[in-house]
Symmetry: C2
Amino acid sequence: MDPTAKKKALRMLSYGLCVATSRDEQGYAAGTINWISQSSFTPPLVMVAIKTDTGLHRAIDSARIFAIHIVGKTQKDLATAFFRGAQASDGKLNGYEIESGETGAPLLVAPPAFFECRVVNEVRGGDHTIFVGEVVNAGVRSDEEALTLRETGFAYGG
Amino acid sequence: MDPTAKKKALRMLSYGLCVATSRDEQGYAAGTINWISQSSFTPPLVMVAIKTDTGLHRAIDSARIFAIHIVGKTQKDLATAFFRGAQASDGKLNGYEIESGETGAPLLVAPPAFFECRVVNEVRGGDHTIFVGEVVNAGVRSDEEALTLRETGFAYGG
């Protein structure tokens, strides 16, 4: 296989940007992700690939819950703020206001939409684990459109 | 859970459009899909959710191989042509020229990029199966950008 073609072809897959959060006995965990897609209508499932050597992976793996926030068109700063995990202080996460979700995952207030999931399956192997989550709660806070990875100039894939 | 919020939040996930193909002893199979993402760098893996009651699902499930084609910005017609499965005639698939890939899956010549996968894992449950495929071959045929689901006005999710 030509590695340049593999990299280029895989980078042509289209993505949005999301902030994933979770919470286990060690505290909050969070990270900006883009490897996510719905995977079933009934029940409503999503599949998300989380890097294995991260605090976010540790928390989802142990607590079996996570929340996904859609990053809005004007919220590139929010995505950037969650590149390096979670830092809680003054009741905020990386400087952003949160509230507690139904699953116990912290919910960011700024993003236009979110949903909460319970892990129902997973696939290990490779440098990320695929967690399959059933959507158990969702909310829409504004009509702002979603930011796409292509718009940001960032790349994660290939 | 508020079903309207669930639907709206899930539809804010960003997607591209791809045509997936496969081939088993019953012949060619194909379909337009958007529930796909990379899921590992090393080895290079992708996760794709395929509707269980389709010929494409039957073929991938039995042959354990598939090809993914990135639909280009100007190729909405190509995506539409593969909404209803695969029809082979005159050595073409749904009217589009093909060649044989390394895995045996038919490769469409028109799309700007493609990759071929061997199934290494799967998750059943729900109305789609998640197939995890290792990328074993890839090609780039043009510099055309990828078409996004949002640009087409189509929706698949929620």
